[in-house]
């Protein structure tokens, strides 16, 4: 189906350049500025320095926050994948009222982060909240638990909320992937006497590989950047127990006005994020 091509090869500039220039201006330029700030000495001065970075790596709070972020991201993404895959597999079957179930499962992902944070903050209220009330009624706990203010539980509680918030996205992507697997594959394998587990391991999982990578990459990026959820639930407290990089940087900027230090942290965070997502970016851009 090779049609005759009109010679207007250079017209791509007209379409691609406006957006590219806009992106460089509103995004590339400030990003570059941030890198510059990060090598300015704190509190003013003229010569460039790597001091902000050396302060950062010897800062025990930074190390704790970095660790929190890693834990938050890994547990969030892993739980999203597990529950998301589970629900997607079930919803891919012939079941009653499928659209209704899919709709309900999508809801947590649809509302703004801030709304999620505030609802759950109120859910988790030790005395007046619904969560303790429910668990007390079922008999799973016998006293009012301080979900968000106990140092032992706070981070896990936040991750639990993030599971609620994020699993629908993975479900949505994987469901789309499942629906594109040809039914014939299963029928043929079933005739050959394959067990359900074999069908899953030999057909379903390999066919989902691409979608799993997409879901994983996007989810990691989103969870690293998660801000509104934590800001409305705990603001990083108690202490620094639930502080993640994004809330930490925000505080350093706008509460302590340590612009140079905050920039250095942001640069490190961005570098880590790009390192994780570069394989994905490369994969997609090569295919295009």
């Amino acid at each position: 189906m090779k049609l005759l091509k009109i010679k207007d090869r250079h017209m791509w500039t007209l379409f691609v350049l406006p957006g590219t220039i806009l992106l460089v201006l509103v995004l590339g330029f400030p990003a570059f500025q941030s890198i510059l700030y990060s090598i300015y000495p704190e509190g003013g001065g003229t010569s460039y320095t790597l001091n902000n970075y050396s302060i950062l790596f010897s800062d025990s709070v930074f190390r704790q926050v970095f660790g929190n972020t890693v834990l938050f991201v890994i547990l969030s993404v892993a739980s999203h994948l597990l529950l998301g895959l589970g629900v997607a597999l079930v919803l891919n079957r012939e079941i009653f009222a499928k659209p209704v179930f899919r709709l309900i499962a999508l809801l947590p992902w649809v509302v703004p982060d801030v709304v999620v944070g505030i609802i759950w903050r109120w859910m988790f209220d030790p005395v007046y909240g619904a969560f303790n009330d429910l668990l007390l009624r079922i008999g799973l706990i016998s006293t009012h638990v301080q979900w968000l203010s106990s140092p032992k539980l706070a981070l896990l509680s936040v991750i639990f909320v993030n599971l609620w918030r994020g699993f629908p996205f993975v479900m949505l992507i994987l469901l789309a992937g499942l629906q594109s697997i040809p039914r014939v594959l299963y029928e043929a394998a079933a005739i050959d006497g394959a067990s359900r587990w074999q069908l899953f391991a030999r057909i379903t999982l390999p066919s989902l590989k691409k979608m799993l990578v997409v879901a994983l990459a996007l989810d990691i990026v989103w969870e690293v950047r998660r801000f509104g959820l934590i800001q409305t639930m705990t603001q990083g407290g108690p202490g620094n127990i639930t502080e993640v990089l994004s809330t930490y940087i925000y505080k350093q900027y706008f509460q302590f006005f340590r612009f140079e230090y905050a920039s250095a942290v942001a640069v490190i965070m961005t570098a880590a994020l790009l390192m994780v997502s570069l394989p994905y970016i490369w994969m997609i851009s090569q295919e295009e």
Partner: protein, 280 residues
């Protein structure tokens, strides 16, 4: 026979049981929000809590609009998000068309650039934005926020629009070009009308991205007249005494546009999100 029986190790009951559990998990917080928003302040602080309000009232909703400036917050969110969405979708459609139809040197690099910008965290940019916007008198203005939101929405809109335009056969372009249409003419008269549903989806998705943001609003505004819905909700967290029915009413109204728009556009949303990710 035994084998065929064994194959069904998840029976119907277990599946529906699982689905019902997941549904309860997904829905309970929403029910709690709705229930609280209908309570009086006194009833919200009852021990043990009531799930169905003893005395239902819409007072909390009325108070949000009359005693708090929720009207202003709502208007700010709507205006800023809509402007961002339209701008980013327009530029996104242009770039998306360019990426979809032309093969040129550096194309892969530029696609990689657009993708990479989508990964950058907002916290890398808020500091410089604060300084730059202040310098140009755009700090604490709606215009400043629209510019800032373009950083989130433009890469996304480009990607989504490219996905939709990829579905329009190139033969249409060629036919129009042969008939004497210019490239721009093809874009505006052929491509945009055909991908109108995709554009609507992109506008709505960009709108919701901007609508749901807290980071930029909290960093780039300072006065009451610039507060958006998300900031209005988040700010109450620091308050000494939280009036939960009002806050839940605010949260419900702040989440409503998103819920309604997503439900209307479920199918297009999935298409847009997975465009480029799956090839048919």
């Amino acid at each position: 026979m035994v084998k065929g029986f064994k194959r069904k190790f998840f029976s119907g009951i277990e599946i529906y049981g699982f689905l019902i559990l997941v549904s309860i998990y997904a829905l309970l917080p929403f029910i709690w929000m709705l229930s609280t928003s209908l309570k009086t302040e006194a009833e919200a602080f009852r021990v043990p809590p009531t799930w169905i309000p003893i005395k239902s009232t819409l007072d909390a909703y009325v108070s949000m609009w009359t005693k708090k400036n929720f009207g202003i917050y709502f208007l700010n969110s709507a205006v800023i998000s809509l402007a961002t969405a339209v701008l980013s979708t327009f530029f996104g459609a242009l770039a998306g068309y360019g990426f979809s139809r032309f093969v040129f040197k550096g194309r892969k690099f530029l696609i990689g650039f657009f993708l990479a910008t989508q990964m950058l965290p907002g916290v890398l940019l808020v500091g410089p934005y604060f300084k730059i916007l202040s310098k140009f008198g755009l700090y604490d203005t709606r215009t400043g926020l629209v510019i800032a939101f373009l950083t989130i929405c433009l890469p996304f809109s480009t990607w989504m629009m490219k996905g939709f335009i990829d579905r329009v056969p190139d033969a249409l372009d060629q036919a129009a070009l042969v008939d004497g249409c210019s490239r721009l003419g093809v874009f505006f008269r052929v491509i945009l009308p055909i991908s109108a549903p995709g554009m609507v989806a992109t506008i709505i998705f960009a709108f919701l991205l901007a609508w749901g943001d807290l980071l930029w609003v909290i960093c780039l505004t300072s006065t009451e007249s610039m507060v958006t819905v998300t900031l209005g909700i988040a700010r109450t967290v620091g308050e000494f005494q939280i009036i939960w029915p009002m806050l839940m009413a605010g949260a419900l109204m702040g989440g409503m546009p998103a819920i309604i728009l997503y439900l209307l556009l479920q199918r297009l949303l999935v298409q847009g999100l997975t465009a480029g990710a799956v090839k048919e």
